[in-house]
């Protein structure tokens, strides 16, 4: 390859390609192992869900007790898939937007391997019944400590890349990513210290209150900003249009930063903690609709009008689905925080369904959009199969709809209605929940099928078995004799190259 490139456009393209290449292995490692953990999490979720409508399922061993599989299911979903997908997107987006090659890919890769090893150990411990039992911090203390330590070996380089960025303007995605880089250790350390370390000190209800805050904060101050950063990058990048309103984008950021940390304790309404705390959190959870609407409108208006990009680009399709998921998440979150509604939802399955909707319907959709964009760049190969992408999209949509609309909203209120009736026995509530538990299992099975093929697709791409083409893999129905559309001018370019070299 030539070393001297003088055209500014070519120079920038080369720089971007160099950034991509420098991050190939850590990014592909995070995405692929994240997708594998997502599949594991869905299998554990299916086992847990089946046990609610068929209690005798897999009762041969204590490893698969509902309480244990539920903990392992949530842990793998959060730390296996969620955190790793987010890390991949964070390091790539920050390097790209700051125009800085990664110089510490080796360290990130090693930290990623230890992260997975620690998680495997933690999941086995949970299934043996030796987890901590604290919501979303189910791993034994030593595993959580290792994960927090590893984060600094993964995230620090992105902060440095931002400090030494090229170009003066800071794009909105960088705002969100930089914030999440600081919020993640803050939230995780707070949860870890107050729910797993300083247990004997202070009021015992403080653990419950901190745990409730921790769950919400991890969702709203880590997963949400990363997903929004990716959406703000993908939508303009694919459509070629600027962000609809940049002022609205800045407003959305500050609204999330100000409102987000107050949410979480509304689920402890009526618990013996100072009684203003749940009300404060409930108010904040409703206010959260404002940044959610600002972001979602901005993304949807940016994508609107490029109907061909919407129809053809998997990245944009998933991102738009993620923006709708953001509205769904904030809408359910606000609804179940209204004190008049809360009596039906506080102790029902709505709470779990809300978490699933947020992670699978909003965060994961945005991550898929980013992954479909990033992987061809870091591997310099195009996605192999349009069919695999298409099944991934539609099965994800069906799965999320089954979980969000049928299980969470309808099922949750049916369940909560029976719980609220005095004199009804618990068995009635469970028989009422039965069809919705089946819809949860069905949704999980849809997602598991799509995730399995997605994971295989990613693995093949990492092995660089993707297509060599100058045309992207788009969701078109082969008008040019190839399942992917026109294959481009690679051969022509090679010919030109050899002709020129010969001269």
């Amino acid at each position: 390859m030539s070393t001297e490139v003088n055209s500014p456009f070519l120079e920038d393209t080369k720089l971007r390609a160099d950034v991509d290449r420098s991050l190939r292995h850590p990014v592909m490692f995070f995405f692929t192992s994240g997708a594998a953990w997502l599949a594991v999490s869905l299998v554990l979720g299916i086992i847990t869900s089946i046990k609610t409508h068929a209690p005798g399922f897999l009762d041969c061993t204590s490893f698969f007790n509902t309480g244990l599989t539920m903990q392992a299911h949530m842990s793998t979903l959060i730390y296996g898939w969620g955190a790793q997908a987010a890390f991949g997107v964070i390091i790539w987006l920050m390097a790209r937007l700051s125009r800085q090659e990664s110089k510490r890919s080796g360290i990130i890769l090693v930290a990623g391997h230890i992260w997975n090893a620690a998680m495997t150990y933690g999941v086995i411990k949970i299934l043996m019944g030796e987890g901590s039992g604290i919501a979303w911090l189910y791993f034994p203390t030593e595993v959580t400590a290792v994960l927090i330590g590893l984060y600094f070996f993964i995230g620090t380089w992105s902060v440095i890349a931002f400090r030494v960025r090229r170009g003066g303007h800071i794009y909105i995605s960088q705002w969100y990513i930089l914030a999440s880089l600081f919020w993640f250790p803050w939230v995780l350390l707070t949860g870890f210290l107050f729910c797993q370390i300083y247990l004997g000190e202070g009021h015992p209800m403080m653990i419950t209150a901190t745990s409730a805050w921790f769950r919400s904060a991890l969702l709203l101050l880590f997963f949400t900003p990363v997903a929004i950063a990716s959406a703000y990058y993908i939508a303009p990048k694919v459509t070629g249009r600027p962000v609809y309103s940049y002022n609205l984008a800045i407003f959305g950021f500050w609204a999330l930063a100000i409102v987000g940390p107050w949410v979480g304790m509304q689920r402890l309404m009526g618990a013996p903690i100072p009684s203003f705390m749940p009300y404060l959190s409930a108010g904040a959870a409703i206010l959260l609709l404002i940044p959610a609407i600002a972001v979602a409108i901005n993304i949807l208006r940016t994508a609107k009008g490029s109907s061909s990009a919407m129809a053809h680009s998997p990245s944009l399709r998933f991102t738009v689905a993620g923006a709708v998921g953001l509205l769904l998440m904030a809408g359910i979150g606000a609804l179940i925080s209204l004190p008049s509604v809360m009596k039906y939802t506080q102790f029902s399955t709505v709470q779990y369904g809300y978490e699933l909707t947020a992670i699978l319907g909003f965060f994961s959709m945005c991550m898929y959009g980013a992954i479909y964009f990033i992987v061809p760049r870091v591997t310099n190969r195009e996605w192999i199969s349009v069919g695999l992408i298409r099944q991934h999209f539609w099965l994800s949509i069906y799965g999320v709809l089954a979980i969000a609309l049928i299980y969470t909203i309808t099922g949750g209120f049916m369940h909560g209605d029976i719980i609220e009736r005095p004199g009804e026995v618990a068995a009635t509530a469970y028989s009422r929940l039965y069809p919705y538990a089946i819809s949860l299992t069905t949704g999980f099975i849809f997602l598991l099928i799509s995730t399995f093929f997605f994971c295989v697709h990613l693995l093949l791409m990492w092995l660089r078995l993707g297509r060599r083409s100058s045309h992207p893999t788009l969701l078109v129905r082969h008008p040019h004799g190839s399942p992917h559309g026109p294959e481009g001018d690679l051969d022509k370019l090679a010919e030109l190259d050899s002709n020129l070299s010969a001269n």
Partner: protein
């Protein structure tokens, strides 16, 4: 390529560079990166009025929820008003109920844990120190004697099963114990360790014992001499029929099987 250069300071081309060659090179090694569109960040479309209106409505709802809590930032107020589940409207209130014999046995056994240290789990006592309850006439012949022992304690020499014990049993809190609990404890020791008296005393009958206890001429712990006069003494009134279903909390009769 009609894309705007990133850095317009530099000249577009230089004579010395073979542009076609460079272009082909980049296209081949960075196909995806080279076809990307530039991100332009200065979108300044006007924000729809509806977003402001929706936002204001949301803020009003959120504020109304926030100020439902009358005690903002007050760390000593723990109870939110109106946060209790409504009563069952005219429904059949279920009362915790149990069959009297099993209730007395389980309740009495739980109470007896306070006696195990001296009288033993098997009721045989500690030879030479604490008398046995198993087979003792003091236990079997009248409910008044064990009740007095529990209420007041016992002191002085007492002959049990052919051995004489000279111990000092302090009061076991029989005064503060509920009538139902005391009845259960007496039933338990009269019907365990091989004892078989079989009478299910009612809380009202325990009331008779309390009356006797208040009319005592002596004070402090009871002695064997005082207890002797109660040997063989029965209580007035009907005791529970076996199989009676009672309220677990009050001992009120709910039905007789």
């Amino acid at each position: 390529m009609s894309v705007q250069p990133i850095d317009p300071k530099k000249p577009d081309l230089e004579e010395s560079t073979n542009v076609s060659l460079q272009h082909a090179d980049v296209m081949r090694s960075a196909g995806a990166a080279s076809r990307e569109k530039q991100v332009r960040e200065n979108g300044l479309e006007p924000v729809s009025m509806w977003i402001f209106i929706t936002g204001s409505i949301i803020a009003i709802i959120a504020g109304s929820v926030l100020f439902k809590s009358s005690s903002l930032l007050e760390y000593d107020s723990f109870v939110a008003s109106g946060y209790t589940q409504k009563d069952d409207p005219g429904g059949a209130t279920t009362v915790p109920s149990a069959e009297i014999e099993s209730l007395y046995m389980s309740m009495g056994k739980a109470k007896y844990t306070g006696c195990i240290a001296c009288h033993g789990a098997d009721g045989n006592g500690t030879p030479g120190a604490f008398p046995p309850l198993a087979g003792a006439k003091w236990v079997k012949e009248s409910p008044i004697i064990p009740a007095f022992a529990i209420i007041h304690g016992v002191k002085g020499a007492i002959e049990v099963q052919g051995s004489t014990y000279n111990g000092n049993m302090p009061s076991q809190g029989g005064d503060t114990m509920g009538d139902l609990e005391l009845a259960a404890l007496i039933y338990y020791i009269q019907n365990s360790f091989g004892n078989k008296v079989g009478v299910l005393y009612t809380p009202e009958q325990i009331g008779q014992i309390r009356k006797l206890s208040n009319e005592r001429s002596e004070s402090g712990q009871v002695t064997a001499a005082e207890l002797t006069k109660y040997l063989g003494k029965k209580l007035d009134g009907d005791s529970f029929e076996p199989g009676t279903i009672v309220n677990k909390k009050t001992g009120e009769i709910l039905e007789v099987e």
